[in-house]
Symmetry: C2
Subunit: 195 residues, 2 copies
């Protein structure tokens, strides 16, 4: 399992590193971090992390797109959107967390597909595309090769669900156990959509 | 709230970034990342993050120590232990996640105090000090200014508990809600200790 994590300025910390914790526990997985220009990418939590340029991506297995405050700028970044679209078309799976689905929606690749997003930013997310079948009540949603999750922590549940789908439930259970995480296995249960 | 995050090679990803997600949502919080030598610190999940030297720490408010595979080497790093001890003595609060408590125990500062740690590495953790009152069944443990949590994901619950203790339950609840996290509020409930 080869994971390409896409970063941009002001990404949401746990959107990225919750799922990364899960992916890193999969045997023989490799995780690489990319951004449009490469170099150091920082966010509001004081994190400064090294990335490579998206042009350097060679293996298109799992494309991972987090959300965060910075997404509001990136949905207007045409060059970046074109790159994401091209990468997503080539990738075996595409996973988004939180408002990462808004970015993916802007590429048009979610047109006619089911997807979800952060419950606190749902109206804004929907405003990015009226061609997506936005599902409000879901921890995460699967449509073909596209996995989209609700806000922040939901990414961990989805990552475990993804591992379960790819490698079996036992592998996902073992990872959750090792990281002492109370995995919410039911992707339809959503404690955050109403409020 | 000023958080000094201590990093070392092969730190555990979610040990750090779960709590960081919580701290970053506290108003006017600042989070800085330090290591013994400063510079880029990397781990097995392919993360390469910039840090400053621990010598640069000026404000000693909250000292945060994660765990991870790298701890097994650091418990024998006398210079690092002395630095951690000196920083912990000056800090208002010290929080550890997972095997981070083994490092803190090696400084002697937990002697006679209650503490917990990762449930999969508990025997190894205990072997680092027989003067600590190790509590096996707990999500997190508080003794004076020392907060120690169980493995990996438990750090998120403890971080929310810490915010609740410092700033009130409503602030912690709001943060959990914003990041769509099902907070396990009961620090005595431990689903992972027996197995």
């Amino acid at each position: 399992m080869n994971i390409n994590v896409i970063l941009f300025p002001d990404f949401e910390t746990l959107d990225v590193f919750g799922p990364v914790e899960v992916f890193g526990k999969v045997e023989k997985s490799t995780i690489n971090y990319y951004s449009q220009q490469g170099g150091i990418i920082s966010n509001k939590d004081g994190i400064r992390i090294e990335t490579q340029k998206t042009d350097n991506i060679k293996i298109n297995d799992v494309l991972f797109i987090p959300g965060g405050g910075g997404i509001r700028k990136e949905v207007g970044n045409i060059e970046f959107l074109n790159k994401i679209k091209s990468l997503a078309e080539k990738s075996r799976y595409i996973l988004t967390v939180c408002t990462g689905s808004a970015l993916l929606a802007r590429t048009g690749l979610l047109d006619g597909k089911k997807a979800t997003s952060n419950k606190r930013a749902f109206d804004w997310v929907k405003s990015n595309s009226d061609k997506v079948n936005w599902i409000q009540q879901a921890r995460w949603v699967i449509d073909g090769k596209y996995y989209t999750s609700s806000g922040v922590s939901a990414g961990i549940d989805m990552a475990l669900g993804f591992v379960s789908d790819c490698l079996g439930d036992e592998v996902a259970e073992q990872i959750a156990f090792r990281v002492e995480y109370n995995w919410q296995r039911d992707k339809l249960r959503d404690d955050f959509w109403k409020q």
